[in-house]
Symmetry: C2
Subunit: 199 residues, 2 copies
Amino acid sequence: MSARIVDFWFEFASTYSYLAAARLEDLAADRGVTARYRPFLLGPIFAAQGWTDSPFNIYRAKGRYMWRDMERLCGRYGLPLRRPSIFPQNSVLAARAALVALGEEWGPAFVRAVFAANFAADRNISDRDVLAQVIRDLGQDAEAVLAAAASDPVKQQLRANTDDATKRGIFGAPSFTVGDELFWGHDRMLDALDWAGKL
Amino acid sequence: MSARIVDFWFEFASTYSYLAAARLEDLAADRGVTARYRPFLLGPIFAAQGWTDSPFNIYRAKGRYMWRDMERLCGRYGLPLRRPSIFPQNSVLAARAALVALGEEWGPAFVRAVFAANFAADRNISDRDVLAQVIRDLGQDAEAVLAAAASDPVKQQLRANTDDATKRGIFGAPSFTVGDELFWGHDRMLDALDWAGKL
């Protein structure tokens, strides 16, 4: 078990992952905990449960509630929220780009910027040009990052993350793991950080 | 909108409703809020979503997680937890008896006792004798309560609660409403109480 490390499992199409990503770094720093970013894809995990769409679209009452809940929570934390025209978005390219970015110091900032593009600015994060702009806004080389994102090792790493998530019993996003201990949802983020801090 | 009143929508088969019922009265009293108990049945609501069993049984990873999460939360709040032999239990008779009990002062105590029978003592709460014992332990007339629970007006009241829950967009338990504002889950209980307290 890794002491004082929380693995942060996120999916760029996930509303509550947006909330978690926006708040994680400050809360982790306060507790002397390091967050390890693990992008993965919910699509294959949902498909294994028989879902070919977001459960928030399949189960309408739950979806209506989720958007109202997000509105309340974003209000509380001072985060902008604009309901995306497309939900859920295809997040594959963004997740691959994140794996490249997370190999460098600006990774967490990129993750937050992609989430903001999706849920605050209603940009299409499956669009290469949109991602290129996000990367350039962070002062990085968009063409180099996107070329690396299209490489086989990065594609393989995203598949491996998704397989690892499945093996760990992860069924939704965001999730947090501390060793074998699993915490699901933005609602459990502080519990996960506190769990890691106690080790 | 009713000021300083929270409607507490619960289902005796629901694990997180057990947690909520155990903690609600003290937390509401601290905030000068009155909890109005609204037993309902999740069965018809789940059936409308295509589920004929608890989603915690249908989606195994989610179910495994839920029991671990309950273990952690019950530990935190000092509540006993014993995983029931039967899950979910048939809660129809218990919900009808609760409607009778909630017409009197001992209603909330009965609700807590039924949840404890299910989730702390692993008793079969669909068994009339088990419910009779719970009622007697509270110093009440078990035969009179169970006779009233079998009456048409009480059966109708439970159906009306379930219909009302559906109309309000409730899709799981526990839920809390303050006027038209919906809060889902034990995780939102304090938010609901605070919302009512601000009115």
